[in-house]
């Protein structure tokens, strides 16, 4: 490891440093605000350090990691999202009795894991990144440990994630066994030398897909998602839905681009089936659901299906579309869970649809933000979600994936049904005007932090929806350096 290696890993180093500092601080004395500030500052600093890497081109660090435009963009995206989530978390946890401070350490660790994931070029780094992420998530999900549901969600996630990790690892072992290398590039050249893919390799790939599919919560590995989303604290749910999935998707894209997996009809077929099944099952499951967090979980399953459509396009445009969509999806999901977090109280999260009744008249601004988020999920114009969906459709049409594209359109319609149901609930007349606000009022400063975050998200959402050019330029600029 040379000095330049360290320079290129600066974001990760900053985060790691922040973890250490945090632990020391906790050892000295617990203070929620200080922890929060340390976390936020470290995220910001890490993000700022990316500025140096903007024209990095492609810089490999040993066989394990690579810093390139793609990686930089994804790290940036992850860092920003994590920052936003930490801001929402502050208000969320401020109301709760549990010790809050470790939460931030876990959040930082999970973020580090994800960042490692998206820049890994080797099974070892992939595995390490993934497990740092996973183990942190086990604790995060069950963080509110006095809630039954949190524990249930935690144990479910733990067992299932470990179970799927076993698949992933075994798959890796098989791939390693048949190719003799664990580097992506090496695997690619090894595959290229085969005239016919050996069974061992195919089985290995298949098992890896199970592991990856689980993390992405695509059908048929999706079943954990609603339970975990429901049980986890709202900010953690936001983290799982965005950062964790985004990171895994990032590494999936990197791996597939490297080995050019789109050449193999078997793999394409598997992903096509998975994509269609995810879209359908996700949307149908959400159709009459009355728990907002579960709706968002199911909808995220469907959205991963949409993302796979662009992923299957398999060209530069597809990668751009996935990336763009991820940005939109990140903003939207964080915003949506931010609203959920904001409306939650000590006892429970605001997850029942009933909690949102007449929100438009009680808290117009919050409701407007939530409406914007939901409409973005539904892909309605003026929101980033629309442009994202448009991009995916464009990528699909471009490579003539008609089946997938039509399924996407069909599913968008099914999706609309439950999205507008949420909106409809919000503008319903209140049943009785006497329904007093039971929620304990927060301190104004905290309230402002949450509202400010949500406002930023909403503005970003609309800005990207109306003027996607800027983001598009960044994505195209950064990703062009990666794809050969």
């Amino acid at each position: 490891m040379t000095l330049t290696d360290f320079q290129h890993l600066m974001p990760l180093l900053i985060l790691t440093f922040a973890v250490l500092v945090s632990m020391l601080v906790i050892a000295v004395g617990r203070n929620h605000k200080i922890m929060y500030v340390i976390t936020a500052v470290s995220f910001l600093a890490a993000f700022a350090s990316l500025y140096d890497l903007r024209d990095v081109g492609r810089y490999t660090i040993g066989p394990l990691l690579v810093i390139d435009g793609f990686g930089v963009f994804y790290i940036g995206m992850i860092l920003l999202t994590a920052l936003l989530i930490s801001m929402l978390s502050y208000a969320y946890f401020e109301q709760r009795e549990e010790r809050k401070e470790e939460y931030y350490i876990l959040l930082l660790l999970a973020t580090i894991g994800t960042c490692v994931l998206v820049i890994s070029t080797h099974f070892a780094s992939l595995f390490l990144g993934l497990e740092i992420l996973s183990v942190s998530l086990y604790a995060l999900i069950a963080y509110l440990r006095t809630r039954e549901r949190s524990d249930e969600a935690g144990i479910k996630y733990l067992i299932l994630a470990a179970f799927s990790s076993a698949f992933l690892l075994f798959g890796m072992a098989l791939v390693y066994a048949s190719t003799g290398t664990m580097e992506f590039a090496g695997i690619a050249s090894a595959i290229a030398s085969f005239t016919e893919l050996p069974l061992l390799l195919l089985t290995g790939f298949g098992m890896m897909i199970v592991g990856i599919g689980f993390k992405l919560s695509v059908v048929p590995f999706h079943m954990w998602a609603p339970d975990v989303y429901e049980g986890a604290p709202a900010p953690v749910t936001a983290f799982i839905a965005t950062v964790s999935k985004g990171g895994v998707l990032g590494v999936l894209i990197r791996f597939f681009m490297e080995v050019d997996g789109f050449r193999y009809p078997t793999l394409v077929l598997i992903f096509t089936i998975v994509a269609i099944a995810s879209m359908l099952a996700g949307n149908l499951l959400a159709l009459l659901q009355r728990n907002v967090k579960r709706i968002l979980a199911y909808s995220s399953i469907a959205h991963l299906g949409y993302l796979l459509v662009a992923f299957l396009a398999g060209n530069e445009m597809g990668v751009e579309a996935v990336t763009f969509y991820l940005v939109a999806y990140f903003i939207t999901t964080v915003g949506a869970f931010g609203v959920v977090a904001m409306l939650s109280d000590k006892e429970r999260d605001a997850e029942q649809l009933e909690d949102y009744r007449a929100l438009l008249w009680r808290r117009p601004w919050t409701a407007a933000v939530f409406t914007a988020m939901v409409l973005s999920l539904a892909g309605i114009p003026l929101t980033a979600g629309f442009v994202g969906k448009f991009y995916i459709l464009a990528a699909g049409v471009n490579t003539q994936l008609w089946l997938l594209v039509v399924m996407l359109a069909l599913n968008s319609v099914i999706g609309l049904f439950y999205y507008i149901r949420i909106v409809a609930v919000m503008f319903q007349q209140p049943e009785a005007e006497t329904q007093v606000e039971p929620r304990g009022k927060l301190r104004p400063s905290i309230y402002v932090a949450s509202v400010g975050t949500l406002t930023v998200l909403a503005l970003l959402l609309v800005y990207i929806g109306v003027y996607p050019s800027g983001l598009l330029q960044i994505i195209q600029g950064l990703i062009a350096t990666t794809t050969p």
Binding site: A153, I155, I159, A177
Partner: protein, 102 residues
């Protein structure tokens, strides 16, 4: 050493993996489920070692060490969670933990 072909080793790993897999599916006790998952992970580790030895590389063993570490971390968190669940449900039956569904 070379007398044992890689396939045999992988087969052993595979059998171990299947054993773990099946017992995860049929066990109700959460601790046993955790143990079964550990078996699966170790099966994967074994497969790495077999593959590594086939290619005469240390990578497989390194991966095994990673897996061990990770499994340990996982178990520690897992046991903590199980304790918590036992506190609340007074049972270790995983089927009892189904408050969330639908």
């Amino acid at each position: 050493m070379t007398a044992i072909p890689m396939e045999t080793g992988l087969l052993l790993a595979g059998i171990l993996f299947m054993l773990g897999l099946i017992s995860v599916m049929i066990r109700r006790n959460i601790i046993f489920m955790l143990i079964s998952v550990e078996i699966m992970l170790n099966a994967a580790g074994l497969a790495f070692i077999v593959a590594g030895s086939h290619w005469a590389q240390p990578d497989g063993q390194i991966m095994f060490i990673f897996i061990l570490t990770m499994a340990a971390a996982e178990v520690s968190v897992g046991l903590a969670l199980i304790l918590q669940i036992y506190h609340q449900l007074k049972t270790l039956n995983s089927d009892a933990a189904n408050f969330m569904k639908g």
